[in-house]
Symmetry: C2
Subunit: 365 residues, 2 copies
């Protein structure tokens, strides 16, 4: 992890920061190798020039952080203590006071920021968001491998879910079956709440599985992912349970056509917003423009949704080593919805599709 | 939900605010009845004096919000649009401009705050955190009923988990079994990541289940909860799989004694910090003070961890209608850990224990 810390400090030096306070779960994990959801407690990696990195965290987690591989300083605090005072005392002892501190303005709350300012009143604050976002944007070979395994497990989740489809089964039963199978594979946590939707419910891009029962000739939408060693996967497939109408088939073919066109265009140098436009234009040509109500996709890695946002106005050019989703969808009320989503890893040439479950319409009978 | 909105506006008027912007998932749910995790997107309930409440949210979620019962204004935005501009335009049309706006300083990030300030440059900002926290602190009869059902389902989860214990089963398999059973009961989501720990791993208060296998004479720790209609439960039980040592039994009895003493003291008028002290003193008397490394508990409701924090320095007096956990623990490295946690609902007299799974040491053979 030390190379990541060094890279971050080098980036921050460019903006005259001699220190930083990093407190989001994802970035703390990126820099420390220790993943923890602190709930309302404070955790943070504090980097100060010429000082060994500091991990501020609840005392009860010290041992876990060590076991996860953190070899540097730890400032632990009890629940009844003020973490800021503990940190301040520690730095005083080291005779180190930061001058310009970079913080995560896209994460730190106003309240925490005020507390930080009270603790270090003579410090100037800058924003670390972009620097760390740019570091995380380009994945290493090791991160690629973790994402690939996470994607394979997502494929397995869809496969297991499809196999569990039978008349009368509920959405939640299918969720339970596929998550049970993934837990047996050693998956502790899904990367987001698994979505299994039947029939007309597929028309909601953010629908929730419940006790709705599967009926013949339903569309079935799966959207799921796992966390594998800290890295997230994300896949969506829509299948037909029995026969579907010509209109539903046309919607399916349109989404698939849009998805494949965007995947094919995912080459180094292309702006990510272009991909959204390519998919959107195709869907619009086919008459469904108004029913594609969200962006094309999102970056993913330590977080399911991370930088960059794949929306039409984003001019960020694709570089090798990026990982993002391509997931156009069409949602027609009463008729149903179709979304097809893959995780892509970009290279110097064609992108690698990390998720591999078949995309041609699967008819389950 | 309109009474909650009215109550909030009345509270805010006391601090001269004529408007507010509420954007945390939990508080948006509290005020709107619509639960959504917006990930990196913005959602918000905007209340402006003399104007119907406004829900700012992604266009693709408008329908879901309506179906969840939102009857007031909606400002929807597409992913490529600037939500702040959409909101500003809308308010301009209504010829309403806020003067003093209350925001959630414990939730809003610096970045969002800067965007809000740019959108409404002539507004003064105050903090809505305390007002809304105080409203949510005292639960209604309906909230009590939901929490009770959530607690019953948590009991069922522990029961199912205990029944799944057998030599050689892995922690993750037990997690899978009990979550599968809960999903069949209609539970879509756990309130946090289920913890099932075997043997020496119980000594970590934040341990993670993995493929560790159950062995004879292991302590087994369950910490889990469900979300039932938006309300969270949380229970911890530690059981013995076979025989445990005299020291482990002594630890169990000590935790149980501390827990029961704190539960008994949970009466209106007592400061919540007193409860922590009562449990901590007892554990210290028995010689394990240094191994009780966290606070006594936390409030819960829409969030698993919410106000108040049950730590020793908290002077907040208990009132009827509060819901919190009492969960002392002792964690001795190599020897093992024991935690016993119940959800309490306070009344004018004795507290109601919402979780009811037996607390006397269960020996599973």
């Amino acid at each position: 992890m030390l190379d990541r810390i060094d890279n971050l400090l080098a980036e921050l030096k460019k903006q005259q920061a001699d220190s930083c306070f990093i407190s989001s779960t994802a970035n703390v994990y990126y820099l420390s190798g220790y993943y923890t959801d602190p709930h309302e407690r404070i955790i943070g990696i504090i980097l100060v020039d010429q000082l060994d990195p500091i991990f501020l965290l609840p005392k009860m987690e010290e041992k876990d952080a060590r076991e996860a591989g953190w070899k540097h300083l730890i400032v632990g605090y009890y629940d009844h203590e003020n973490p800021w005072h503990c940190l301040q005392e520690f730095l005083k002892k080291q005779e180190k006071q930061p001058a310009v501190m970079a913080i995560e303005k896209n994460h730190l709350t106003i309240q925490r920021y005020n507390e930080l300012q009270e603790t270090f009143p003579n410090v100037t604050y800058t924003d670390a968001t972009e620097a760390i976002q740019n570091l995380r944007l380009i994945k290493t070979k090791k991160e690629h491998d973790l994402l690939r395994t996470a994607a394979e497990l997502a494929d397995f989740g869809v496969k297991t879910g499809v196999e569990a489809l039978k008349e009368g089964v509920t959405e939640l039963e299918v969720v339970a079956t596929l998550e049970h199978a993934l837990k047996k594979q050693g998956i502790r946590e899904m990367s987001f709440q698994t979505m299994v939707l039947f029939g007309p419910k597929t028309a909601s891009p953010h629908g929730n599985p419940d006790k709705t029962k599967l009926e013949k000739n339903n569309l079935v939408l799966f959207d799921l992912g796992v966390i594998y060693e800290g890295y997230c996967s994300d896949i969506t497939r829509t299948v037909a349970f029995g026969n579907i109408t010509d209109q539903q088939k046309h919607i399916y073919d349109t989404v698939l056509g849009a998805q494949e066109r965007a995947v094919e265009a995912s080459k180094a140098g292309t702006a990510v917003g272009e991909l959204d436009k390519i998919a959107r234009n195709y869907i619009t040509e086919q008459g469904y423009g108004e029913y594609f109500t969200h962006r094309l996709g999102h970056g993913l890695g330590i977080e399911t949704h991370e930088y960059p946002s794949m929306h039409s106005e984003n001019t960020l050019p694709i570089e090798p080593g990026m990982c993002f989703t391509i997931e156009p969808g069409i949602y027609v009320p009463e008729v149903g919805g179709v979304r097809i989503e893959d995780m892509l890893f970009t290279t110097n040439y064609m992108p690698i599709e990390l998720t591999k479950y078949p995309k041609t319409l699967q008819i389950i009978s």
